[in-house]
């Protein structure tokens, strides 16, 4: 009997990503956003989450993927981090899936760029691959901002 883990899944630029369910606070629809001037481009803006101010990070930009079409409204995956809640903007929300550990594999050496840093592993599902994101590294923008 192998262990299983639960992941909240979503799509960004047709890639299938997952974040451990315990790290996700909630998933909400698109919210009006306040832009932050002078901020790194990965930061889309600030949203009001029931009185709490939450920074929204555009995952497409963060993962150095092509920009979203204007008419396509992103969804918020609000994750918990050491610094409080942070929203990750994704294209589309998938299901919460329960996956067995034995189909896990470390990311291939050929993975390039920022993905190599942020993707901690791959689950080989039947029909597609699920990329697991390291949330702490994903929301650590300062390091990324300095580099770009």
């Amino acid at each position: 009997m192998t262990n299983t883990k639960q992941f909240c899944t979503f799509f960004v630029n047709n890639l299938f990503f997952g974040i451990e369910v315990l790290k996700v606070q909630e998933v909400i629809r698109y919210q009006g956003m306040t832009r932050v001037p002078l901020a790194p481009a990965t930061i889309q803006g600030l949203i009001n989450l029931r009185g709490q101010i939450v920074t929204a990070i555009d995952l497409r930009r963060r993962l150095e993927l092509p920009a979203r079409h204007d008419e396509q409204l992103p969804m918020n995956v609000v994750v918990r981090s050491d610094d409080g809640a942070i929203s990750l903007l994704v294209d589309e929300i998938g299901d919460v899936v329960e996956i067995q550990d034995d189909i896990y594999e470390r990311p291939p050496e050929t993975l390039k760029g920022v993905a190599r840093e942020l993707v901690t592993g791959v689950y080989k599902l039947k029909d597609r691959l699920l990329l697991i994101l390291d949330t702490e590294k994903t929301v650590d923008i300062n390091a990324a901002g300095n580099r770009s």
């Binding site: 306040t34 932050v36 001037p37 930061i43 600030l46 101010i53 990070i57």
Partner: protein, 751 residues
Amino acid sequence: MNDNLQQQLIKDLLIESFEGLDNFDREMLALEKGQGNADTLNVVFRIIHTIKGSSGCIGLNKIESVAHVGESLLSLLRDGKLEFSPTMSSALLEYSDALKEMLRSLEQTGKQGEVDYSALLQKLQALQTAPPPETKPAATFGLFEDDSEAPLAPRSSTEAVPAPLPAIPHTETVDVPEKTEVEKEVAARPAASVSDTAIRVDVGQLDKLMNLVGELVLARNQIVQFTGQSQEPTLLNAAQRINTITTELQESVMKTRMQPIGNIWARFPRIVHDMAQELGKKVELVMEGKETDLDRTIIEAIKDPLTHLIRNAVDHGIETPEERRAAGKPEQGTLTLRAFHEGGQVNIEILDNGRGINLAKVKEKALQRSLVTPDQAAVMSERELFNLIFLPGFSTAEKVTNVSGRGVGMDVVKTNIEKIGGSVDVLSEAGQGMTLKIKIPLTLAIIPALIVTSGTERFAIPQVSLLELVRLEAEQARKGIEMLYGAPVYRLRGQLLPMAYLNRELKLESAAGDSTNETVVNIVVLQADGRQFGMVVDEINDTEEIVVKPLGKQLKSITCFAGATIMGDGKVALILDVMGLAQHANLIAEVRDRAVAGSVKAAEKVDERQTLLLFNAGQNERMAIPLSMVARLEVFPRVQVERSGDQEVIQYRGQILPLIQVANYLSHADATPVQADPVQVIVYSEAGRSVGLLVSKINDIVHEAVTVKRGGSRDGILGSAVIQDKVTDLLDVVGIIRAADPTFYEESTKI
């Protein structure tokens, strides 16, 4: 005993004991000065007794046994079986340090520490066994037989309560001896009443409450905005009530977080005492207004700057007794700490009668460090020169002592105080001492701010950094802003004001592109680091009370923003950090030179500037009162004015506010009482009592130098002055209130 309970008990013990030991130190110093009495000894005995009792109770044997030895000595002193001597006082202070050390170790590591105190304990024991011959030998120092207090009732003493009463008797005796009359009255009240009406609440709980109230304020704003469009009377009524209740709730919750500033002052007598002894100086510390309340976040923030300033004053300010004698001053220097509320801010003053600031030395040092150029120094005013000491890298101390001058300069003090929206000013006369005036806001959580628009975004500017708003129209809008080597400037009353465009600084797309083809230009005049500059914004909206919320760490590196807030419509707006913005726009560095030269002229005429409220009373009487006397300005619909006897009153914040028709008390034939609707009221408060002054029109608030021509022959007028080029009468507020209600001041002192 379960672990949680044990933890809680230890926490209580720590809070109680640290508070107690601070008091203990103070009482000891009083005794040493000969200001103590039998009651003082009682107080210190009880403090130690409580610590011993509580620590023994939860199995902290080391603390208990150390406490025990001192307690025995104190019990002998209290019962008059021993005479108090300076040797004892220093041993007892050392003993208090030992207790603190163990408590601190307990706080940090959970253990009572490994330090061996046997030498100290022996010293204390030796003091007990050498009583004056006429008293009984130490054999009688049995512990509790003469105690009125049971060892397990630590909380019945007054110091176990977080000082909700302004005048706890034993704290007053030390510093303000002249108040003894009042003290006795207070002391006569049974101490139990304090602990009966006060409870300890976890600060986290209060913070949470504060956050919730913050949310409520936002929701309230949304409701009020929404109902503004409605005609439904029931809804409007309910919204109105929610509005007032929220305001009151906000104030009450804020009050619960208030702490008397005396809490952080408690350690100063000890600091001053130790430093004075080390430096061979004689210093008396006088503390006034320690009951002044301020938010605990602010208390925390000013603790270190204040300590630094106190150390500075004792180390550099006050001279040695020899120097003082040579200068014809009393050997003992005086250091005064004063705190009071004024105009919605807390003022803290630190005065010493030491050597003051030597302007020549300051100048020399500033030149030597290239902080100013010789040309600048030559034209600088006194005030400018004094303020040089706040520049980074400045210290006039000739030698670095181990007491101060550890690399933390006045610049850090200033930055820390400015960080919480405060300001520091220094005044000094060489040889006579110096005065530091600190002004800080009451709270940090909710601040008044101006909302402006630039591009499509709204921004909040904290009111504390806002000086004025300038609107340029038509011709002026095109020509008002001139270019100086590519740097935009504006002539504000003859002074060049460096300018920046908010949209350009923040790289926003904006309707207001070039100033040349604008019809209206809005300038917000701001102040940062003592320098002024103008910021062009697209639109100026409104002032609002906003709840400051921190930004995530991803945005911390952008110094232009101090935080964010949620607006009435639920959207997020960024709060501008005026200081950071000025640095970002390169305004500060640029301004520095100019402000130095520019303010020379200003400083000459602005020696005694005052902030005054201008209003009309009666027909066309132009009047003024100092803004510091104004608690609030209010507007009421006429119908709310009711009568109680022959007195006009109004219901105000759950109280009955008596109204005074100012015009009635002016000896003018044309003085007709105000019948206007709505009525304008200046609320004046003194010692918890308020009175409303009815005036016909509030005009303006000015900050001007005022020379009063004493023409006080008329009733209700203190004199006249020329304000804004017009003759303006200064209203005798106190006189009028006395005339209207002779008991106002009397009763207020009694209550």
